[in-house]
């Protein structure tokens, strides 16, 4: 479980983008909704341990992450994966991208390749396998960026607008895949503008406005407010 407790975050040290945010991230799919500039992405980055809060704590399974020794952080950090809104792919093939995170974790190259292929098959996009990363369309880049996170089988998965560039069929495939991951105990947090997705797939929805949590609850309670 990740617990964000009374967190403040500022990019410039002057004005806070997140103001006294507290949230439990414990199970299922959690939707983060809110207008542009409300702090959704920043919240995701703080909760996924990419950004250190100015004030407040982020606890992972009860351990205060930012109070840990730098050398001890990596094992906790590797339980959590964040996927950027704009896909950032490395030079090389789709496979190179997919196995990157696995190789970082010391997984054998052959095993990593097998997992990458399996993941693409499950997402029904195995045709991407042989492609070069620089020749992908925006939607395909997004799929590879997502697959690169899925293949790591993380305990917590933070996705920033994961369906932005995808067509209807690919959206459906990704959402089905996310549902399977969530059923398999991965906790998924999705920042989205799409209230339909939040209402259909999330078990809990968090509405953020001006850096504060204004409502938390079941989709029907939060989104029809």
């Amino acid at each position: 479980m990740i617990e964000v407790k009374n967190v403040y975050f500022s990019y410039n040290g002057v004005s806070d983008v997140l103001k006294d945010i507290s949230l439990r991230i414990d199970k299922g799919i959690i939707g983060i909704v809110g207008p542009n500039g409300s702090g959704k992405t920043t919240f995701l980055k703080v909760a996924s341990l990419l950004y250190k809060p100015r004030k407040g704590r982020v606890l992972v399974d009860g351990i205060d992450f930012w109070n840990l020794d730098v050398s001890k952080r990596i094992s906790i950090k590797r339980k959590i994966v964040y996927v950027h809104e704009k896909p950032i792919l490395i030079r090389g093939s789709v496979v190179d991208n997919l196995i990157y995170g696995l190789l970082l974790r010391g997984v054998d190259r052959d095993k990593a390749l097998k997992r990458a292929v399996d993941c693409l098959k499950q997402m029904e996009v195995e045709y991407l396998l042989e492609k070069s990363a620089k020749n992908l369309s925006a939607g395909e880049s997004q799929l590879v960026s997502l697959a690169r996170a899925f293949v790591l089988d993380p305990q917590f998965l933070f996705l920033d607008e994961p369906l932005a560039n995808l067509d209807f069929k690919k959206r459906k495939n990704v959402l089905c895949f996310l549902r399977r991951l969530a059923d398999n105990r991965t906790v998924i947090v999705i920042a989205t503008h799409d209230q339909l997705i939040a209402s259909t797939y999330a078990e809990k929805v968090v509405h953020i406005e001006e850096g504060r949590v204004v409502r938390v609850g079941k989709p029907d309670d939060v989104l029809t407010f």
């Binding site: 996924s48 990596i74 950090k77 590797r78 964040y82 490395i90 995170g101 974790r105 790591l152």
Partner: protein, 214 residues
């Protein structure tokens, strides 16, 4: 005569390559550290480097001449009129250019790849390795620009090298000498050789970059 031209060409290549490698050995880590730490000192180093990018080569040559001449503070090392002095001079000459351009490259690639690598579970050193890997084609191009400035400069080679035949004579100092003697044909031939070397290296690096970018 041809054997002398070949010898001069090889010496030019060797000296400028050594100078570029030497400048790379400190410019790369300094630039990376500056872009990763964003400190006030780093910003100051970049500002000074930007200001010194187009410093005249004779100024660097004069500065080193004063250091290494018989009355200079570093006369005991006996570097004046040696190939090593040209290597040192050229490496100092291209350092501001390399720091300035490497800093821009690292800033661009770090902002893009560092956070992505960390978000996928990279340690700081793994993330740094990814940034360097992704930036490699651009880093190679910048190194080539540095090499181009080193092999094409005249002021440093003339002032601290002395244009000694068979020892410190390089292509640029030879061209200057031939022109001063009125031997324009020889000067032109040496000029074409210099152009040929630079052109060949540019083409080779472009081809290598194409392979790297795949």
């Amino acid at each position: 005569m041809y054997s002398e031209i070949i010898e001069i060409s090889f010496r030019s290549l060797l000296i400028s390559s050594a100078a570029t490698l030497m400048a790379l050995s400190w410019s790369l880590p300094i630039s990376y550290m500056i872009s990763s730490r964003q400190s006030r000192l780093g910003k100051m180093i970049v500002s000074i480097s930007n200001a010194l990018v187009s410093v005249p080569t004779v100024i660097v040559g004069l500065f080193l001449y004063m250091l290494f001449s018989r009355k200079g503070p570093l006369s005991v090392v006996g570097l004046l009129y040696t190939p090593q002095a040209i290597v040192l001079g050229e490496s100092l000459l291209i350092t501001p250019l390399l720091i300035s351009l490497f800093h821009d490259v690292f800033n661009e690639y770090r902002s893009k790849y560092w956070e992505m690598a960390i978000s996928l579970g990279a340690t700081f050193s793994q993330a740094a390795a990814l940034v360097v890997r992704e930036a490699m084609p651009r880093l190679v191009t910048v190194s080539l620009i540095g090499f181009g400035r080193a092999i094409g400069e005249l002021g440093v080679a003339l002032m601290v090298g002395g244009n000694i035949k068979g020892y410190t004579r390089v292509l640029t100092t030879s061209i200057a000498l031939e022109v001063s003697k009125g031997e324009f044909e020889e000067a032109l031939m040496l000029g074409f050789i210099l152009l040929g070397i630079v052109f060949t290296i540019v083409v080779a690096v472009r081809l290598m970059n194409r392979v790297l970018e795949r």
